[in-house]
Symmetry: D3
Subunit: 137 residues, 6 copies
């Protein structure tokens, strides 16, 4: 069993808030992350898959196949977008880094499996000082 | 003459567009950077000042004095904000990294001079692959 | 279950040696790390906690609560300090990165638990080429 | 149980291809990685070992002992070399990052064990965007 | 006048040697960099251009125009290539980082000028510890 | 004219203070940097030299010659040392990063000149957020 990780990036805006809370409550819980006109990040995404090495080509999974999946399912939907308004799989969810990692997992788990590998971890950096990891359960 | 640089960060949203252009023209010039709901970045700012070393303390300028100036004049106004809507000194300007660097220079040049040093360079990273430098002229 | 990591930094001096060994023995085991006037590092600390995502706010644990704990229990005690002389929880211990990671765990394990999350890993970089991880057992 | 990691680097050339495939098939599977005159990377290697902290010196394993092992068994054989032609332990293997990580494990597992620690993980970065991890099984 | 820099990467193999020197002389001057089967690097390229900010769009030069020029004139010719054998503009030149920076300048100077900006600096990292800068004279 | 830069590192302890000031005054000016038992950093040094490319070998200056000079004149004297007590060329100087950069310049300027190149810049990082540059005047 070997693990291979691909790093990707997306630059997005988001706002942490709940519509059923007033501004004061949102500010109390989320602080400046609930600024009403939003703020943004250069998110960094690490997608780790695991599997056996294919003796035919020396790969767990050919990155030529993995990269377009990540691009199509995740990066094109998140990059240069507003996570609260523009992203189908984030609708009605608080766009915390935790929820973002979980939903990226949900986008990628099946397509990776269809290529004979297993999704192992989704890691998302929000800033150089904060990141989240999700292993699917 | 010696140069000292302080690195700071701010996480903001912005949108490149001109109100006097239609969506098609904005998209043609600015591409996904004109996404109407915005996108964002972890901007990284490098403020370089120059001066003679003060033999009393070995400093060009005490960072204990420089850091609060940068925080007060720049970071508090930009961090967790929308560069199009929330920032007084960016009003009516296209929030390109170029214009942002120039306006940060304009905020800091006088306060640094009042502490006996000279502002030398403002460097702003928009992503790990793009940055801008401005030397005041 | 999701994992969230906070990165912090502290700049400290230390000296690896044992008082019950002579200089020659200390130099033989610890090399230049036992220089009698000390040496120092920009240590980098990664604190990883794990837990379920709180559906109310999308967080495992609000970083607004985690950061002050790390600052109070760890960073304020280590930053700009001498690890051999100034730090209560390192007294009578060889200040190797291994021991430092274990003692930081001991400082944080209970306060994190009191906030409803679990401490998962303490990772300490001594230099860009060496780091230690401790998972509590 | 504590984990300590040492980072090392090597700059090598390689070519992904199989002699029993023609150029078209190699290009189809490996893309530009099968360029017939080769290409190269600054590989970055992370060697993680685990063990109990020795109370005599505060170490899992003295890096003064670990570093020469890594240098002798791995770095001297890979650095400034051609992975297809110059490296005994890569002979007759496709020099993918996966295979490279496995073979580095095979070089280091026994010597680390002979020093009373256990090899835990070999991590190899091929570029800043791709890396592989191997845990020995 | 403002300066904007674009970072790009290419992974190449090279060998430092002169055909008119014997192996011993090549090894004496170039050391392991003259390994006869080559070695390689993840080169990192920083292209800096300068100019006035265009008030129409806030740019010195639209990166949507600069990036394809760099890709077409430089990256496509160098990435996943052998600098001694595959690159037209490096023919008959010792592929040192110095010479590489100069020849990249020669490829980009005119196309950048044709877009109304000036090429200011070519910076090439060979490893994380070595880089070269060329300003065109 | 081309510029080549070599990056080196040293891990040292220092204390900012003046013996002719009392503790209160030292703390007022230098803050926690005057902690009486010291603190430390992983300093990062960038040595930039300039010169013409030697057509014989493609180098401004052979790094095989430059590296031992930096090691002998600077790194061996600073690494794993106390900048206040152990370093001849820092005696009786406040060990600020500014003064450190100037004194490193003084150590290297002549030996680099004797090898036919010119020292251009000494850049010293104290932390990831602060660095100093000195150009010799």
């Amino acid at each position: 069993m070997i693990y291979i990780t691909r790093r990707e990036r997306f630059s997005s805006t988001h706002r942490l808030y709940r519509a059923d809370w007033d501004d004061q409550k949102n500010m109390e819980i989320f602080g400046p992350c609930s600024n009403q006109n939003g703020h943004g990040h250069n998110f960094v995404l690490f997608v780790t898959i695991k599997g056996k090495v294919n003796p035919d080509n020396g790969f767990v999974m050919n990155l030529k196949e993995l990269s377009p999946i990540i691009k199509d399912k995740v990066i094109d939907k998140l990059d240069h977008k507003n996570l609260n308004l523009d992203v189908d799989f984030m609708k009605n969810k608080i766009p915390s880094t935790e929820n973002l990692a979980i939903e990226i997992w949900n986008q990628l788990q099946r397509p990776v499996a269809e290529h004979g590998a297993s999704l192992h971890c989704i890691k998302v950096y929000e800033t150089e000082n904060n990141f989240v990891e999700y292993f699917g359960e």
